[in-house]
């Protein structure tokens, strides 16, 4: 059995799944924002009994813990040591007052173009220590090409701080400013996240289960929880990831699809290509900070069930603010939910109050409540459909860098529209019409997030760079930098890459049967001096893509 728990902003949901991945029990409790463990305990106790505990194979958790720590600024003060060399003006890169710039940097080829000055590093560390700072981020430009410089700085300050976060461990992708932001966030939430992990593990020990505990990451994949504690920044935006994985788990589609989660304040939009959720190309954004954190692509718009509706200069405006619930539920202003009640699309709330809301709104435009409701509903669906089209357009027009992709690149053409959330049933048919998609309403949508977390597989990614001219191989996510022979080939690179990805995934708690690897980047370039090829520049990126675990062979198939 699998226990899935989604600790959301408002509710904490728990589900228990059997070997066929069927929901056998579920519970919903209010989230206690002060103490997430309390919510965790409460939801769990409602669906677990002694017998289930023994059969528990795994526990998977999605939580707003890291996100909230950042949003509510419950983070530690972080010192940053940056070694960027020439390029953007350093002041543009300053992340806080505790940022120190030191000399030394790495070039795009991974060469140390200038070395570090030990004295400078020591002075920077001392000045930060003196301020009582205990968490340090160390980030160099192109440290993904050669982590040596960051590692040396780390050696110089070893023991001076409680924890060091290294830029090169955050991601194999390029982007120095994002690497700085990611490393900063990782250091800032490191302590609070580690404490949370301890609490969870204490709790599971207490209730007497030895089942491994996993956490859902931003990319919709899981990681064993104590492994995740090394890079807590990977667990930001676990919530939205759970919602997308939830839809995936309830539909198991293999087509291009759109998923909408229509809530009270916002509608979240996600896309699937051949049934696989799309990842952000560079990394997710949190609180306006662009990071290198691998994460599912979602877009949020301020048009939803409880959006405030009003006329403004002859234009009907919907959202983006929510001022309270719908008037049918005693709220202050008319909302799309009121319109849906008047149109008979849903039976919730006080119909008379909803009619009054539309009357109030129509009064200014001389329309009957019924007509007004129709206009509001159409506009609401229209805005959401426009947003979906805009995102599709953006994704389908994403820059590509080869002639092959230019001519043969995949175009996403959704056939299905999955809708979850309060107004899902009322809006899905019209939205489907507008987008030319078959509407689908996943079952068990009320606990979709917890199911999504429960069934998500372990995901990870590694980046291999081989420079046969310099005879060096780097796998930066693993901190590997080793010599290779000059005749090292692309096939050798692919072999090593697969092997290391496998090791990494197993370490993160992947099950053998879910190690579905995919090469996502595979480039090989000649390096030429004069008119002679002097080496090859091989670049491979491999991943285990987000998806669902497969049922145990003895557990039957999912129904």
């Amino acid at each position: 059995m699998i226990l899935g728990i989604d600790v959301g902003g408002t509710h904490t949901d728990a589900v228990l799944l059997n070997g066929r991945f069927e929901v056998v029990a579920s519970a919903k409790v209010l989230t206690n924002p002060e103490n997430l463990i309390v919510s965790f305990r409460e939801a769990t106790s409602r669906i677990l009994n002694g017998g289930d505990l023994k059969q528990l194979e795994r526990i998977v958790l999605s939580t707003t813990m890291s996100t909230n720590a950042i949003v509510q600024n419950r983070v530690d003060r972080v010192g940053m040591i940056l070694a960027g060399g020439p390029g953007l003006a350093p002041e543009t890169l300053r992340i806080n007052e505790d940022t120190r710039f030191i000399s030394g940097y790495v070039s795009h080829r991974g060469l140390e173009a200038a070395g570090t000055d030990e004295r400078e590093v020591r002075d920077a560390a001392d000045s930060l220590k003196k301020k009582g700072i205990r968490h340090l981020g160390i980030v160099g430009k192109f440290s993904t090409r050669n982590p040596g410089l960051e590692q040396r700085i780390g050696d110089l300050v070893e023991g001076d701080f409680e924890h060091l976060s290294f830029g090169h461990r955050m991601s194999g992708n390029l982007n120095y400013p994002r690497r700085i932001a990611t490393t900063y966030l990782n250091a800032a939430i490191w302590r609070v996240y580690n404490r949370f992990v301890e609490d969870i593990l204490r709790f599971t020990a207490e209730i007497g289960t030895t089942a491994p505990v996993y956490i859902l990451k931003a990319d919709g994949g899981t990681s064993e929880i104590s492994q995740s504690a090394k890079y807590p920044v990977g667990t930001i935006l676990s919530g939205p990831a759970a919602s997308i994985m939830g839809i995936l788990s309830l539909t198991a589609g293999k087509e291009d699809a759109v998923a909408l989660d229509i809530g009270g304040t916002t509608t979240d939009i996600a896309l699937f290509a051949d049934g696989v959720p799309l990842l952000e190309p560079f990394g997710v954004t949190i609180e306006g900070r662009k990071t290198l954190v691998r994460g599912l692509q979602t877009r949020s718009i301020g048009v939803a069930g409880d959006s405030r509706v009003r006329w403004e200069q002859g234009e009907l405006r919907i959202g983006p603010e929510r001022e309270g619930p719908a008037m049918a539920f005693g709220g202050p202003f008319p909302t799309p939910t009121d319109a849906m009640i008047v149109l008979g699309l849903t039976k919730i709330g006080d119909r008379e109050k909803a009619v009054a809301a539309m009357d109030l709104l129509g009064g200014e435009a001389n329309a009957s409540p019924g007509e007004t409701a129709r206009i509001v509903f159409e506009k609401t669906c229209g805005l959401i459909a426009d947003a979906v089209r805009e995102i599709l357009d953006e994704i389908n027009n994403k820059p590509v860098y080869t002639i092959h992709e230019m001519l043969e690149g995949k175009i996403i053409e959704p056939k299905v529209l999955y809708v979850v959330g309060g107004p899902a049933e009322a809006m899905a048919p019209r939205l489907g019409e507008l987008l030319g998609c078959r509407p689908g309403l996943p079952k068990h949508a009320e606990v979709a997030n917890a199911v999504g977390a429960a069934l998500a597989r372990t995901t990870t990614e590694i980046t291999l760079l081989a420079d046969t001219e310099k005879k060096i191989l780097t796998i930066v996510e693993e901190g590997i930098r080793q010599d290779i022979p000059g005749r090292f080939s692309r096939d050798d690179a692919l072999f090593i890459c697969r092997e290391k990805l496998l090791e990494r995934a197993l370490k993160m708690g992947a099950r053998e049967e879910d190690l579905i690897m995919e090469i996502i980047e595979d480039q090989e370039f000649n390096m030429v001096r004069g008119f002679y090829t002097t080496g090859k520049n091989i670049r491979i990126k491999a991943q285990i893509k987000p998806g669902l675990i497969s049922p145990r062979k003895d557990g039957g198939t999912p129904s």
Partner: protein, 438 residues
């Protein structure tokens, strides 16, 4: 992060799967390290730099500029159409006001491609700036356009295409043609009889450094642009003046390119050459992008940058000062010059040989232009490639006067394939967007 002063569009198309040959300078990884540097610097996250996917140019876009022999399909590949399409996308983003300026960081380049195309020369098949410019005029109306070609090689293709166009000012700074391919680009090449002064060539001595380039910019190029008052300034942004470029002999720098771009402030920049793919291009391109976006580029420099090592000689400085003064004088006397060239001729003829170094083709060309005060003048071209393929082309210029058009139609009508020595006869009319072949 600070939002910059200008919105800058970036059309980046490195064509990682296209090369002339595996060890040719124009090969797959030419923009690889530039991409690395642009991505690592995080330029696309700064808030005022936007990346756009290139469009694909059409046959019609190419036929508005070139006479391709025998046809567009046979002298181009997809890569050329995407490269030209990238330049067009950059232009559209600027013309529509979506961005303030744009940089098409695309390959393969185009500034050695002339009006008649029998094949590739100087790594170029079609002239991507020219295709872009005629697209702009077709879509947004006739505009006065200045092209400033800062590639180290003379932009002889662009010069040829706009030689007779009084609305296009072509300014080229390059390494002296006596010391580098294609061997042309001297101050005496000053525009056709209907466009005297609309071609300005500034050949610089080898080993010219930042000082020399910026001197020419301030004392020659900017004053001429002030006189010409273009609606649009386009920079053919070749990057082979760099001190590490393997096929040229100049001493320009990333910092210099950024400053030049900042002062020139082009509406659209289009990449041309530049073959120091590891040690120059990544830094030059970051510098140019920051300069275009109005951001601080003062910290951009190459890892091995050493101003002392690349300082130009005092002789070079003096030579450049005198050269600039001379060319500025020529520019100021362009009207007198015009009378001298025209005398009372109705048609003026030029004969020349064109060599296609990339494809090893020799072309003999006779071009005639109708002397006209009302437009760029009707042009006819008789061209023979490798002593075998012979064609005749009638080109009615953009903004043509009725007399030139009538004359052109008459000539095209009077010739038929088969009864002469020509394999094909072409008719190109930019105003009507007409392209006929017989």
């Amino acid at each position: 992060m600070t939002a910059g002063k200008r919105k800058t569009g970036l059309v980046f198309f490195p064509a990682f799967d296209w090369a002339i040959s595996p060890t040719h300078p124009e090969r797959e990884e030419r923009l690889l390290y530039t991409q690395d540097q642009v991505f690592e610097e995080g330029l696309l996250d700064l808030g005022n730099i936007f990346e756009f996917k290139p469009g694909i140019a059409t046959k019609e876009d190419v036929e508005r500029v070139h006479i391709c022999v025998p046809d567009v399909e046979r002298v181009t590949t997809e890569s050329h159409m995407i490269s030209a399409g990238g330049a067009i996308t950059a232009a559209d983003k600027v013309m529509s006001g979506e961005v303030d300026n744009a940089f098409a960081l695309v390959r393969p380049p185009g500034h050695h491609a002339m009006r008649i195309v029998h094949g590739a020369r100087g790594f170029c098949n079609i002239n991507i700036e020219a295709v872009m410019i005629e697209h702009i005029r077709r879509k947004y109306g006739r505009r006065r356009i200045a092209i400033v070609d800062t590639d180290c090689h003379h932009g002889d293709g662009t010069q040829d295409i706009f030689w007779h166009d009084p609305d296009t000012l072509f300014l080229s700074i390059h390494q002296d043609g006596r010391t580098l391919y294609p061997g042309s680009g001297f101050p005496e090449e000053f525009g056709g009889p209907n466009a005297v002064g609309m071609t300005v060539n500034i050949p610089l001595p080898p080993q010219t450094s930042e000082e020399g380039f910026l001197y020419v910019l301030d004392h020659l190029i900017l004053p001429i642009l002030d006189d010409f008052k273009p609606d649009l300034v386009i920079n053919s942004a070749g990057q082979d003046n760099h001190y590490t470029d393997p096929i040229t002999d100049m001493q320009f720098t990333a910092q210099g390119y950024a400053r030049l771009n900042d002062r020139l402030s082009p509406d659209i920049a289009v990449l041309e050459g530049g073959y120091s793919v590891e040690t120059a291009l990544p830094y030059i391109n970051v510098g140019i992008i920051l300069a275009m976006a109005g951001l601080d580029y003062s910290q951009v420099r190459e890892p091995d940058y050493d101003p002392e090592r690349i300082r130009q000689s005092a002789d070079t400085t003096r030579y450049i000062e005198r050269l600039s003064e001379g060319i500025l004088g020529l520019w100021k006397r362009r009207e007198e010059q015009k009378q001298k060239i025209r005398r009372d001729s109705e048609f003026i003829r030029r004969r020349r040989s064109v060599y296609y170094d990339t494809d090893h083709i020799s072309e003999e060309q006779t071009e005639e232009v109708r002397v006209c005060d009302d437009c760029g003048g009707l042009v006819t071209i008789d061209s023979t490639a490798n002593y075998t393929t012979r064609i005749f082309a009638v080109v009615v210029p953009g903004g043509s006067c009725p007399a030139c058009r009538r004359k052109g139609e008459e000539i095209y009508g009077s010739r038929s394939r088969g009864d002469g020595p020509y394999q094909h006869i072409y008719f190109q009319d930019r105003d009507r967007d007409l392209y006929l072949v017989k």
